[in-house]
Symmetry: C2
DNA sequence: ATTATAATTTAGACTAATCTAAAATAATCA
DNA sequence: TGATTATTTTAGATTAGTCTAAATTATAAT
């Protein structure tokens, strides 16, 4: 990734990113070439994968065990993920029954760092008359998740495309015996498994 | 508390403590008078109580839900306690069934900050022939907890004093139909409820 | 009541993580 | 290919949390 990309993603300045790239490079977590961006080393990739594992396992715990709504788990998991204890995480994984996906549908690396892959497509690509099972979301922003909550849309729901508007890409889908209007933008952020 | 007491407890230097006392005082969490020590304000006391609540609830979770041994929970809870979310902690409390004591027998403040009190005495004060139920430990150091593990001593065990050595205060107690030797020092660190 | 000792604070320094503004380098375009 | 623009790095500053050594203040002991 390039310096500016990282800065934009982290909401930091490019100057701060450069400083940190040098530190991560000194720790051999990335290969960094001034002006040419950086790439994770194998060690850095393992670090990152463990962080993702921690983050997503905590999300499952918060959502499934504690019944915290899916739009609130992200922020809390953002802190929990920084607690460093393999013992803790492996026990948590076992307690949760070794889940493969988090409450937003993201895959959870196992203790060996392996992800479970599965076929997925976008709801926006589901042709009229076809059925799909909602398995994930592409955007985890509060506003988007709340938008879905209001319409009753969530993971595990089965939907059928009724109509696709050729002009603005908005869709009418049927779910729970009701018809729901969905903007093209939203439909493009919902992952489904076609049935 | 005085500056040196705090420094000794935290394994920091007195100079660092002075610096921090000034900062906490500026935040109105303590009343601090140079050269005369510091005391928590009401606001500071609430802060502290919430920290204790978080710490002890996490210990219950680690021990009871995740089956992490009681000598390992302290270190992990030391980090978990710093995650700030009332929502999280209140859901955790509910998930755990509103426990009143942690795995080392320490009382857990409820959401209103109230502690549950209970009568307790030291195993070292249990007279020969009398029975007691182990309900807590005064020291949570790894070495002490491992010493207890080796002897099979833990919370919930019922013990009877067989003999009290008048010279070195060491005791012989019976537990699970076995006789166990215990140093005077160790017996003075075990809380019991006399039966 | 001095003097010696102990406790505490201050002065000055260091590291980590951030920032703004300026300089350097790379990429684009005329 | 030279000028312009965009990207990236460097220089220098700031804040938080820590430290050591020196100065100050309080306490204890003649
Ligand atoms: Mn997430
Ligand atoms: Mn985070
Ligand atoms: Mn504890
Ligand atoms: Mn802590």
């Amino acid at each position: 990734m390039t310096t500016n990309e990282i800065a934009a993603l982290l909401l930091n300045t490019p100057a701060s990113v450069t400083d940190m790239l040098k530190k991560l490079s000194a720790k051999e977590l990335i290969n960094y070439q001034p002006y040419k961006g950086a790439r994770l080393t194998e060690q850095g990739y393992k670090h990152a994968t463990f962080l993702v594992r921690k983050h997503r396992l905590w999300k499952v715990f918060l959502y499934q065990s504690l019944n915290i709504p899916w739009e609130a788990v992200q922020e809390i998991a953002e802190e929990l993920e920084h607690i460093n204890s393999e013992l803790l995480i492996d026990h948590l994984d076992s307690f949760l029954g070794f889940p493969k996906f988090d409450p937003h549908g993201d895959p959870i690396p196992n203790a060996q760092g392996k992800y479970t892959l599965r076929a997925q497509s976008l709801l926006s690509d589901l042709s009229p008359g076809k059925q799909g099972l909602i398995i994930g979301v592409k955007d985890q922003q509060l506003s988007f998740l709340q938008y879905l909550d209001e319409k009753g849309i969530g993971i595990g729901k089965t939907v059928t495309t009724i109509k696709h508007d050729p002009y603005d890409q908005s869709m009418i889908i049927s779910m729970d015996q009701k018809e729901i209007n969905l903007s093209g933008k939203a439909a493009g952020l919902i992952f489904i498994k076609s049935l």
